[in-house]
């Protein structure tokens, strides 16, 4: 056994294994699908379960309010102690003091790959599989092939994620991505890249834990000693190299429909959304503030900002970022999923366009319009100008 998933899942590549799970995340957006099946069941270990209300947060319809009400009842009935409501988007909440390197972390959500930023095997499941995990504490998995992704050059984490998508398209399906960074990506960036690995179809993805991981764990008073089952010793059949010359964007309607921002320069936009579990972290907000400070976004643009969690919101308030964004014309939404999956606030009319840092741009994802994905700096610059651009504001309005 030589690859990281072989070591973490304890099986040979291609083998079916039944693996115990160290931690489980359930959010309100999919929890309703497990209520019936869990009705008469006990959770194998409620201490290992985190429940998060972030999709219907706060609920925008009576039906959704009912889901959240039933979810709260479920949490109490099953003896779950770690319930995070209005604390932030589930994956961010999990990465703020819950996930540890080397763990197998199952989430009822496809972006659970994000836990790989902390050196965990983050993997998503549907509702029925989640019920199995909750009952038994284990699940069947096929040990995936590994693709080693060497990041040679690139300044912004969203650009790096887009460059990986450009290279792999959806060929990450069923596979595992191991990242080797030569550019000094910070933890926020690792989270974006592991999160958006889901858009390649990857089962899981990882930045093997290192000094940066330890430093991050210490910030959450978590022990910086951890057990990671070992680093990769293999020469993979597939290695890809990532190098970026200029900012990228994903055009409608697939995240891997990647081109240079320049190819869409000048296209008018109606909305800019800085947020989602793919971004909306402090570094993204800081990038936007650096562009927007003392300026005003274009009058025809709705500029929506969602800090990824309450903690990120608090830090952004302390640093004065929120005030500066509000002064520039931003609408600050509460930490939640919101416009990204088209749940609430900031949906588009048909024919409108949104530029965003989020992870998906499928048709109908955010109402009727077209979604373009780019980094926080491009989003902020474009918000000022009212069109897609890498350049500065035309005038200092």
């Amino acid at each position: 056994m030589t690859t990281i998933p072989e070591k973490m899942l304890e099986g040979e590549e291609g083998e079916y294994v039944t693996r115990s799970v160290d931690r489980v995340m359930i959010h309100d957006g999919n929890a309703p699908l497990i209520f019936d099946d869990m009705e008469d069941e006990k959770i194998w270990d409620p201490e290992k379960v985190t429940t998060v209300v972030d999709h219907f947060c706060p609920p925008s319809t009576e039906e959704r309010a009912d889901f959240v009400k039933r979810f709260r009842d479920f949490v109490k009935e099953k003896g779950i102690k770690d319930h995070a409501e209005s604390e932030g988007i589930c994956h961010q909440v999990m990465c703020e003091g819950r996930v540890k390197p080397g763990e197998i972390v199952a989430g009822i959500d496809s972006h659970s790959t994000m836990y790989g930023a902390l050196g965990a095997f983050g993997v998503g499941f549907g509702a029925s599989d989640t019920v199995e995990i909750l009952k038994k504490g284990e699940i069947w998995l096929k040990v995936p092939e590994t693709i080693k992704v060497e990041i040679e050059d690139g300044e912004d984490h969203t650009d790096i994620a887009l460059a990986i998508l450009d290279e792999l398209k959806y060929e990450g399906n069923y596979r595992f991505l191991e990242f080797v960074d030569k550019t000094g990506i910070k933890m926020d960036g690792r989270m974006t890249i592991c999160n958006m690995a889901a858009e390649t179809g990857a089962k899981s993805a990882v930045f093997p834990p290192d000094e940066l991981t330890r430093e991050y764990l210490r910030r959450f008073d978590m022990s910086s000693s951890f057990s990671f089952p070992g680093y990769d010793e293999d020469d993979h059949s597939e290695n890809i190299n990532i190098s970026i010359e200029e900012p990228l964007l994903a055009k409608p309607h697939r995240p891997y429909n990647v081109d240079k921002v320049y190819s869409e320069e000048g296209k008018t936009i109606d909305q800019v959304f800085l947020g989602s579990c793919a971004s909306g972290r402090l570094s993204d907000l800081k990038t936007a503030v650096e562009v927007l400070e003392g300026k005003k976004v274009h009058e025809d643009v709705r500029f929506l900002v969602t800090p990824a969690s309450k903690l990120v919101m608090t830090q952004a308030l302390e640093k004065g970022f929120i005030q500066k964004l509000v002064d520039a014309g931003a609408v600050i939404l509460n930490p939640s999923c919101g416009p990204c999956p088209g749940i609430d606030k900031g949906l588009m009319a048909k024919g409108e366009r949104c530029l965003t840092t989020q992870n998906r741009n499928y048709p109908g994802r955010m109402g009727g319009g077209d979604i373009f994905i780019a980094n926080a700096e491009v989003c902020a610059r474009s918000a000022l100008n009212g069109f897609i651009t890498t350049g500065g504001a035309k005038d200092e309005r």
């Binding site: 999919n30 039906e63 496809s110 499941f125 069923y174 999956p341 499928y362």
Partner: protein, 153 residues
Amino acid sequence: MKGRARVFGHDVTLDEIHPSEYFSLDKEKLLKGLMEGVEPGFYRSVEEGDIIVAGRYFGMGSGRESGAWAIKLSGIKCVIAESFSRYMFRNCINNGIWPIKIEGILDQVDEGDKIEVQPEKGQIILETGKELEFETFPDWVFDMIRSNEVTGI
């Protein structure tokens, strides 16, 4: 198992198979969302036993199991695709829907064609009589699909 082919293209996302606004525990609402993102009103045209035929990466993106629930509620018991997202593959198994992988299937089937599926043999028979093989499932996966066929939503 015999049914009418209902043909879709490559890269059909889960958000198109079942848009998030149809997420519900109300069976009627769940059913109405089926394929609404690619073919509005599709649910009205479904007959018991219809078979979805699609290209590569059927169900890519989200892992919301409401998509598989809607397929099951419609009476569709089998999806034949060139490939599946891992979420859709697992969600099909867990809902008793046969997820069958056949390379190049899109080029060989037209909308409305009658297809016969024999999971035990790892074989499908097209309207023309042509037989196509597929890699059948490990016994335990086979048993899982069979046992989930009968349980309700």
